[in-house]
């Protein structure tokens, strides 16, 4: 038998065996026969289809960052800052990928405390071709390296989202230092809090052992997971997290020179359209891939990703038609992204019609924030990371609490403990779930908002993150990278 290293399951699986042995030793069971009762938990298997899907999903999410997000953002800035945005996104992806395999994965996805993981998989110790990671089905596993890669793409894109908030005015190297610290102190802990748990078999094995064991396993999960917060693919972890971090940054660094008097129109909405479209396609890997296997719920997430986005793109353009008199490409593309953001936490939980409603609702709210609220308060969130990602993420997080309701076509809450070894529907209470979702949103806003503010402040005061007025006027492409995007 090959050695199995499961996602946080090693000691638990052994515990389950001891538990079963203890049951077998009980007189009542001993009378039943010489053979120990078979475990209701299916044996761990790795399916080639699941593995292939997860590797493809990983590529799709990578495509969201480069070139998707890079082009989406790049098209929105002025010609003189195009390369600075592309470089920032590309280099963040490169740097965070290395950080992820060194300590990020261990910090996010190993057993530690409710806030962050331990050091057991530092430098991916023990994560080899035979290691397996749990999915959401009993007995179904994927290669742990596939899981590490898939989660790596999330760690790469989240900090890249932030830079849109203060695009066109920060220096490259201090930004990279900020990102390295931010993923370590903000992203990995929040990923741990929301997504780390012992897996379906871990819960089933503990449930067979009794209430005390089940309690111990539940306490091993991340804080927000323990609360019961639902976040299928990263509404809190990715979008609210990055959105508030960007917002705090744009407040601390201040407005771009000339904002808002000087016209600063996007230099290429064509590229923004290409980027938004690549984001949409890539997001199928992000959301449907987050099911970690290839089954019916994957198809649910796939459909929701498709239809909420379409509804949101449509409703943004229609709101513009009503308010401004004309629909715009940038509006439709912004609606598409807002829809993708909102459906992210809901993708595996909502039903198709619920997703349509979510998409229709999110765009008018984001539109209100990027037009009315932004202009009223006068902050310079360059590419509307706050208005689209943070606000869209909050709508999605709260919406998930409602749309998961089986009565609304949602998937309901999964319960792995009631009938160990099989998945059954847990109890659902809409108000209670909404309160949990709101608490999760608040914790993310505070953790990321405060953590980011401290990091920005320290780096700005010690090293200086904001570009000099001269460099900013010249454009960051020349002043930071000594190259131009377009040489005619």
């Amino acid at each position: 038998m090959k050695p199995l290293t499961k996602l946080g399951l090693g000691p638990l699986a052994i515990g389950a065996m001891i538990g079963l042995a203890a049951l077998a030793a009980h007189p009542a069971f001993a009378q039943a026969g010489a053979a120990a009762p078979a475990s209701p938990i299916p044996a761990p298997t790795v399916n080639k289809g699941d593995t292939a899907w997860m590797l493809v999903s990983t590529l799709l999410v990578l495509m969201m960052s480069v070139p998707g997000l890079a082009l989406f953002y790049g098209g929105l800035v002025r010609t003189k800052n195009m390369l600075s945005v592309l470089t920032q996104v590309l280099m963040i992806v490169c740097m965070v990928a290395v950080i992820w395999v060194c300590w990020g994965y261990s910090e996010a996805f190993t057993s530690g405390n409710p806030f962050f993981g331990g050091m057991s998989k530092l430098f991916l110790k023990g994560v080899d071709a035979n290691a397996q990671a749990a999915t959401f089905s009993n007995g179904v596993y994927i290669p742990e390296l596939a899981y590490v890669c898939f989660q790596m793409t999330f760690a790469c894109i989240t900090p890249a989202l932030i830079v849109g908030s203060f695009a066109e005015r920060v220096r490259f190297l201090p930004l990279m230092l900020f990102i390295a610290l931010w993923v370590t102190l903000v992203y990995f802990p929040i990923a741990h809090m929301v997504w780390y748990w012992d897996g379906p078999d871990g819960i089933a094995a503990a449930a067979l052992k009794g209430a005390a064991a089940l309690d111990a396993v539940n306490k091993d999960a991340g804080l927000l997971f323990q609360w019961g917060a639902l976040d299928f693919a990263g509404g809190t972890v990715v979008h609210i997290n990055a959105g508030i971090a960007g917002f705090v940054g744009c407040l601390i660094f201040g407005k771009r020179l000339g904002f808002p008097h000087e016209p600063m129109p996007p230099h290429s909405l064509t590229m923004t359209m290409i980027g938004a479209s690549l984001l949409w396609v890539g997001w199928f890997g992000f959301n449907a891939g987050s099911n970690l296997e290839s089954n019916g719920v994957t198809a649910v997430a796939f459909m929701n990703t498709f239809i909420a986005t379409a509804a949101a793109g449509f409703s943004w353009a229609m709101v513009e038609q009503i308010v401004k008199g004309k629909p715009s490409l940038l509006g439709a593309a912004s609606g598409v992204v807002a829809g993708l953001v909102a459906v992210t936490p809901a993708s595996g939980y909502a039903g198709t019609m619920g997703s349509v409603v979510l998409g229709l609702v999110v765009s008018p709210i984001c539109f209100f924030f990027v037009t009315t609220v932004k202009n009223k308060f006068g902050y310079d969130d360059t590419l509307d990371v706050f208005g689209v990602h943070c606000i869209g993420g909050i709508i999605g997080a709260l919406g998930t609490g409602i749309l998961v309701a089986p009565a609304l076509g949602g998937q309901g809450i999964a319960d792995y403990a009631a009938h160990p070894g099989t998945l059954s529907a847990g109890s659902y209470d809409m108000v209670g779930q909404l309160i949990i979702q709101a608490k999760a949103v608040l914790l993310t806003l505070v953790w990321s908002g405060v953590g980011s503010a401290i990091l920005y402040f320290v780096i700005e005061k010690t090293w200086g993150m904001r570009a000099t007025p001269e460099a900013e006027t010249m454009g960051l492409d020349i002043s930071e990278h000594s190259e131009r995007a377009y040489n005619y």
Binding site: P260, P263, P265, L330, V370, T371, T372, K374, D384
Partner: protein, 112 residues
């Protein structure tokens, strides 16, 4: 000799060119320009940011002709470029002191 300078709406260029060819004008110079008069500029909206541009894109047509032809050139442009709306443009006529054809060295009327 006269130099007729006409500022017209861009989409009227072909009609102006045809009208001038019809009265025997053999050449012209066309430039894309921006400016403003009574016509208001466009408003561009990028999500929350609205920029109003004061300058409107126009086409400048320059025609050098003999003094006899100048009034007919002005009339042809005025009719061809007319839509009846604000922003149709203006025509300026100035005296031309000298004309030289670079290839042959011919001057004035023969060079036109």
């Amino acid at each position: 000799m006269k130099l007729v300078i006409a500022i017209i709406k861009p989409f009227k260029l072909d009609e102006v060119r045809e009208a001038l060819s019809a009265i025997g004008v053999a050449g012209m110079t066309v430039t894309e320009v921006k400016g403003f008069g009574r016509q208001k500029g466009q408003t561009e909206i990028y999500r929350g940011a609205e920029y109003s541009t004061n300058m409107v894109p126009k086409i400048k047509v320059e025609v050098a002709c003999s003094s006899d032809l100048a009034s007919r050139v002005v009339e042809a442009v005025q009719q061809a470029a007319n839509t009846g709306a604000i922003g149709d443009g203006k025509i300026f006529v100035v005296d031309l002191a000298q004309v030289v054809r670079i290839r042959t060295g011919e001057t004035d009327e023969t060079a036109l």
